[in-house]
């Protein structure tokens, strides 16, 4: 039996705002197996970003358990979570979040710098990751010299460079036009075919539909969880 990449059990997340407590997530349980391509969909304020932050080990739950690749991570301290993010998760953000004044290659290599990989190995791995997103020839360009779609592909290469168990994308097409967004989604599908486990958060039903499984979240709870036709 394979270990689930994501195994969330009865997870709750409360935020204290002033005097009141906001229950952003209520009793969420979710299991994602290796090789899956899951879209988490919901309107803004539904708690999907909170769920993504928890899955991405950027945040810790108020209660409940979370096993990432078989490892209990809901109780880890900040340093350990940093290491987990570094080794097991690749992030793709809506606004790319590349370091300005830094070349595509160095941006892609950044996670490996925090994994204490030698400089030459880092560059080699970053080159391979850029080849996977068909941007090898742009490795020395800085973000400002790249188009939006190219920047997002650099960001995806950065997410792939550490061979993560999980690629986590938060509205990856939100800052792109329809056509370029479609290309990025196509790239995700290709990567998924190559075996990358992807969880994508979006509010766009059209994009969610192209994933193989959709999890709908409303008011902090999972409303539906269904596979595509």
């Amino acid at each position: 039996m394979t270990t689930a990449v994501i195994d969330v059990r009865k997870m709750e997340r409360d935020f204290r705002m002033g005097g009141t407590t906001v229950r952003a997530l209520r009793d969420v349980s979710l299991c994602v197996d290796p090789g899956e391509y899951v879209a988490i969909i919901g309107p803004s304020g539904s708690g999907k970003t909170t769920l993504m932050n928890l899955i991405g080990c950027l945040d810790t739950p108020t209660s409940g358990e979370y096993f990432l690749d078989g490892e209990e991570v809901s109780l880890l301290d900040d340093d350990s979570l940093s290491h987990v993010r570094n080794e097991k998760i690749g992030f793709v953000f809506q606004t790319f979040n590349l370091l300005a004044r830094t070349t595509a290659l160095d941006n892609v290599a950044l996670p490996l710098a925090y994994a204490n990989v030698s400089r030459s190995e880092r560059r080699a791995a970053a080159k391979r990751a850029l080849e996977r997103v068909q941007l090898a020839e742009r490795q020395d360009h800085k973000p400002e010299q790249l188009s939006g779609g190219q920047r997002q592909r650099v960001a995806i290469a950065r997410a792939l460079v550490n061979d993560p168990k999980l690629l986590l994308a938060d509205e990856p097409t939100g800052a792109l036009d329809q056509h370029t967004g479609g290309e990025i989604i196509g790239l995700f599908e290709q990567l998924n075919r190559e075996g990358v486990t992807i969880v994508l958060v979006t509010h766009d039903p059209g994009i969610a539909k192209r994933a193989r499984r959709q999890v709908t979240i409303v008011d902090g709870a999972i409303l539906s969880d269904e596979a595509s036709r």
Partner: protein, 402 residues
């Protein structure tokens, strides 16, 4: 992430905004420059004074009338006036001390020197026959005083080069008679050129036999008796010897002060060290201000780079790595300021030495290293608060920051 990689990251960041880095570290540049220049001047003057003292003869002991030490306990009741240091005391020192090989009574005075209608006010000093060799002065025309000249109260004078030039011009002064305070003195020697020392013209003087000087100024005691220790390495034995002989002649009272050249040099050195310390403290204020400037800009920089911090945290940087990144950046900025300040200071000192060779300035290695160390320390101190605030950022909040 290794320290070297963090250092390279800092260098990259600084290179990305050179003007800002320069302006940020300007305070440190000015601070280090001020420290370097002030200390170089202080050190130079101290060295210059040491050299000057050394050239005066390091085994010379000065005896002055009156007890100047301050000691605790009951004050001695004053019995009469303190004894003067007389020619008899001088004689006693010559004949009864075994640890000395030169004694000279000194009369400090000033006189109006006149020669054929020309007048010059100069130092007129009464000295003994050993004075010239004790003070490394050389007569290069005529002769110095002899024991006979002194004991016979002869009205002879040995003049310095400035006096010779001003009063006699091209005339040969040897054998000529000049008037000092209306008494006539015959020129028997001319001193070799000595130049300036601590702002005094060492050639602007007239030396008289000590006995004649006492007559001239109507005094019955010397202002100083200068004694040379036979053994350079053991001035203390000579001091004890001199004290014992004089004490016996002064009714068993030590109503005089014996000071070695080394003691005086030590006093001057400690005064100079204090002065240098005060200058250093003042200059350090600008370093502190420079540090505040760095802290300020680093805080702004952390805020501007909130998203960058969020991204770095997301891809695996721990709080500590973020802390170190900003701390090292601050240290590098401050150290660059230190290096630039040091280079500017060395340049200014170099140019000054070339332009004014007489000016005592020197850049000693210890102050260069200290200045660099201080600027790095300023970097650490001013980087702590910004680096901590960067490390404390919550990655979720940081990634959301607009």
């Amino acid at each position: 992430m290794s320290l070297f990689e963090l250092f390279m990251t800092a260098v990259d960041t600084i290179r990305g905004n050179k003007l800002r880095a320069f302006l940020t570290t300007l305070g440190v540049i000015i601070g280090v420059l001020a420290v370097i220049l002030l200390v170089a001047l202080g050190e130079g003057v101290r060295q210059y004074i040491s050299d000057t003292f050394a050239s005066l003869g390091s085994n010379v002991i000065q005896v002055t009338p009156g007890k100047r030490d301050t000691k605790g306990g009951m004050p001695m009741p004053m019995i009469g006036v303190a004894h003067k240091l007389t020619p008899e005391d001088e004689e006693a020192l010559v004949h009864r001390t075994f640890t000395t090989d030169g004694v000279s009574g000194i009369v400090q005075g000033a006189g109006a020197l006149r020669y054929r209608g020309l007048r010059r006010d100069a130092m007129a000093m009464g000295v003994g026959e050993h004075f010239a060799e004790m003070r490394n002065m050389h007569v290069n025309a005529g002769r110095f005083f002899t024991d006979d000249d002194i004991s016979a109260h002869r009205r002879y004078v040995v003049i310095g080069r400035t006096v010779q030039r001003e009063l006699f011009a091209d005339e040969n002064p040897l054998g000529k008679t000049l008037e000092i305070n209306d008494a006539e003195f015959r020129v028997v020697g001319i001193l070799e050129h000595k130049g300036n020392s601590l702002g005094f013209d060492l050639d602007d003087l007239a030396l008289l036999p000590s006995t004649s000087a006492l007559d001239l100024f109507a005094l019955d005691g010397y202002s100083t008796i200068m004694v040379r220790a036979r053994d350079k390495a053991n001035a203390q034995a000579a001091i004890d010897d001199v004290t014992e002989v004089l004490k016996r002649r002064h009714n068993n009272q030590v109503d005089f002060t014996v000071v070695s050249q080394d003691d005086m040099l030590a006093t001057v050195n400690s005064i100079m060290a204090m002065l240098t310390g005060v200058l250093l403290a003042i200059a350090s204020i600008s370093l502190i201000v420079g540090g505040i400037g760095i802290a300020n800009i680093m805080l702004v920089s952390v805020r501007e780079r909130t998203r960058e911090i969020g991204v770095r945290r997301a891809v695996g940087a721990t709080r500590n790595v973020i802390l170190m990144q900003f701390l090292i950046e601050s240290v590098v900025i401050a150290s660059i300021g230190g290096l630039v300040g040091l280079a500017l200071g060395a340049g200014i000192i170099g140019v000054t030495r070339m332009a004014m060779p007489g000016l005592p300035v020197r850049l000693s290695p210890w102050i260069a290293f200290t200045a660099l160390g201080f600027s790095a320390a300023v970097g650490v101190i001013s980087g702590v608060i910004p680096a901590r605030s960067a490390a404390a950022l919550d990655p979720v909040e940081a990634l959301r920051y607009e």
